[in-house]
Subunit: 492 residues, 2 copies
């Protein structure tokens, strides 16, 4: 196994091609590192400037007075070999080649790339790229990518065979509040391959879930071996692009990846226990779900809903995704009989028939989660209901029939109720070690998507739609079956 630790946890970094010029990669990468909060030493290398972004610049790697753990190269492809030679001189073992102009551009570039790879192997240098968006280790504030996404730190680590897709997934994570661990755009994979990163992240204690965007692998056999081992330890989610003829052609012209047969690839996924996503949204949402909720022990789902129709929709989604909606046990029915109007559903889904009662909400969640008949709970429409439910009061206020102070109290009360429901879900989930997936009535602007509390190992994701909640839950169930069949246990 290759030691990629200095690549993601360098104590010192040099950026070759550092510049303050606006549209240059040497500026993107350096400004990102400096702006992102990285605390190690940073050395710009520039043939033309004395200083870059306030740091003393060096004319070459050789002139840097200290040891350099990691070198970024953002100069033209033609300069690569002499710079690598300098790396050897400085005993640099980890390099990220940002520069493009290699195999993706034709035969000449491919020859240069082969020469570079050969040199790297001879001198035991880890090279990420070339033609990569860069890397990141969010936990230490190291953002060394061309784009400047700023996700929060967390357990999801990303391997992307496309920089722009990886970059967008990082940006989406930032906007959704999903926590990211490490990121690598693998670029042309001249030296380090997707399976090297996979092996490293699998052994990385800070990574709880591995997310992969892939277009193709060179060594399917090795990928399968690494993945089969890896999925025993933590969930691995992959999006394979180039599934169709049109997609394969696009992939070939994009990274030169030989996409291969998708059915072959599906077989590899199945054998290796990697979970497949069909689009970037599924890829990220699944990763976040595994990073947040406990695994269900079985497929029996209890549903609590504020309105009947929503329960029907979720029940359909569950059964269409391999989850079961067992009947409501008699003792639970009796308990709800004491709390709900006489015409309540008396069945699973439990329809709270619009009762705007936060105590009832909490009791219903606790009652369902405590019940051995269910392995997971889906809670529909409770989140959001307080803020939406006070709209008639707001209307009466506008009409002059509710005093300002009283309205203020209602508004505050609604916000408090929303947080109370989220806390109830989080605490009940921990208490019974059973996933509780909430779906919001509606995603209001600025709404919390991830709810967490210091000291709680789980997090609550508030889903915008029942179908995404059910999809994620069904994959969590599949993974728990996979682990049981292989006798493993996940770290989450």
């Amino acid at each position: 196994m290759k030691d990629l630790n200095p690549l993601f946890n360098p104590k010192s970094i040099a950026v070759v091609g550092a510049t303050e010029a606006r549209l240059k990669w040497g500026s993107f990468i350096l400004s990102n590192i400096l702006d992102g909060g990285y605390r190690g030493r940073v050395y710009p290398v520039s043939s033309s400037s004395q200083t870059v972004y306030g740091l003393r610049a060096y004319a070459s790697l050789a002139e840097i007075p200290e040891r350099v753990d990691l070198v970024f190269i953002a100069t033209p492809a033609s300069t690569i070999m002499p710079i690598l030679q300098e790396c050897v001189g400085k005993d640099v073992r980890n390099v990220v080649v940002i520069s493009s102009g290699f195999s993706e551009t034709g035969a000449e570039g491919a020859a240069l790339e082969a020469q570079m790879a050969e040199f790297a192997r001879e001198h035991s240098i880890n090279i990420a790229g070339p033609n990569t968006m860069g890397i990141a280790n969010v936990g230490i504030g190291l953002f060394a990518t061309g784009g400047h996404p700023r996700p929060a730190p967390g357990g999801i680590s990303i391997i992307a065979q496309s920089g722009n897709v990886g970059n967008q997934i990082m940006l989406w994570s930032e906007l959704e509040g999903f926590g990211i661990g490490k990121f690598v755009g693998s670029g042309n994979e001249a030296v380090l391959k997707v399976e090297d990163y996979l092996e490293y992240l699998d052994n990385d204690p800070e990574t709880s879930v591995i997310l992969i965007y892939m277009e193709g692998v060179d060594d399917g056999r090795r990928f399968l071996d690494v993945a089969r081992n890896g999925t025993l330890r933590k969930p691995v989610i992959a999006l394979k692009a180039g599934r169709t003829e049109g997609g394969s052609r696009a992939a070939a012209s994009h990274t030169g990846a030989l996409a291969g047969s998708f059915s072959l690839f599906e077989g590899v996924m199945r054998q290796s226990g990697i979970m497949m996503a069909l689009n970037p949204t599924e890829l990220l949402e699944l990763s976040a779900a595994f990073d947040s909720f406990p695994l269900p022990r079985g497929n029996r789902v209890g549903i609590v809903t504020l309105g009947g129709g929503w329960g029907v929709i979720a029940a359909d989604e569950c059964e269409e995704n391999g989850l079961a909606i067992p009947p409501l046990p008699d003792d639970i029915k009796k308990r709800f009989d004491q709390k709900l109007p006489p015409f309540w559903s008396r069945a699973n889904p439990v329809d709270l028939v619009g009762q705007p009662d936060v105590f009832l909400f909490s009791e219903a969640i606790e009652l369902m989660a405590s019940c051995d008949a269910f392995d997971a709970i889906i809670v529909l429409g409770l989140i959001g209901s307080a803020r939406y439910g006070i709209r008639p009061v707001q209307a009466a206020h506008r009409l002059g029939y509710v005093p300002d102070e009283e309205m203020e109290m209602f508004n505050k009360g609604a916000a408090t109720v929303e947080t109370a429901i989220l806390d109830t879900i989080l605490m009940t989930m921990s208490k019974y070690d059973k996933p509780i997936y909430p779906v919001t009535l509606a995603a209001f602007p600025g709404d919390e998507i991830i709810h967490k509390r210091e000291g709680n190992r789980y997090k609550v994701i508030v889903y915008k739609t029942p179908e995404m909640a059910v999809f994620c839950l069904s994959k969590q169930y599949q993974y728990s079956v996979y682990l049981r069949n292989r006798g493993g246990a996940a770290v989450t």
Copy 2:
């Protein structure tokens, strides 16, 4: 055909059971009507109050001095028959029975509901409900639902067999900016059935798309006849809930709907040309797409992307959804040769390799849309790229290397570019009468989701994901094929 016009366009309304009491439906409905901007006359009817929300209240319908077009009833079920009797006395022909306590509660309620329906038929009264969330006609500011969603006016009309689902779809529309026409929660459908509303909305010139949430129909034959006729005039999108055993059980306990066999229902959908959505998101997104974009004349898609990986993903999605990714014609290749770096993809998808150039964006969109080889264009990542692309400049600004005034200029420039791209898409779409679907790089808070300009009959929806854009486009294509096969022409 029943004349439902007074139901949706009443000149005067009475609310029986009007009250200022917080948690009563008589308060929800009346405050909603008063707060929503309805300009007709409104008469509260209350047995206990002299005034309600500042309006003089009447002890009975009979006492109202003027003609009443539409009556809402929000008093207990047991009061329904005498109130209907009063309606006859006032020659009221349109009633919305909000009250629950009918067939959904058991045999006694079912008997009362049958009695009510019989009475309505005898006296030619249109009754919506009972047990309904209410109705709305957004265009005239008539919001007469229990919940208080406030979507913008528009062409999407909604029939919902579940009040809470309909209500949520209205609220989602408000938050997304999708324009709604008329809304009806059909409740228990004692008198007016889903097909009555469908027939009315099909003939309603203000409705461009009909959205249906349904759990079951009483008269499948009549539904099929009405729908088959309706889909020739405008697109009809339906979500059928109760597709699975668990869902059917939930539907039965919810509205008492006999869900029937889903495969039977699928056959009816296919015969009638109704497009099926599998969840509420698809239902709303499809409706919005039909309300916004021109129909494609064929299934050949040209893709313009800012990054290669995203193009691969979209190409896969297209081919998996029955759309084709034809090769790029030579003349288009030559035109792009003059604009892009030598290593550009020279294929469809056209990869703009991250060039941050708004003129190039516009030229690329125009070039692709003008090309006869394509029936529709998907544009990936251009929207959002300017605001995201200036982040390195913002980092340099924070590091002290970009003056405040220059930064301000950059920020403004980015916003201008985003609007310019949206305008280009809208204008090019109109010019070639060809749909252009943009997918944003990332949905930043507060982003415009619907872009429209006075006088342009089309609108641009900015998609958050390539898969939703492709899904909607593929259904638009299917509908255009359906219309051609039946010799019809859509109003959109």
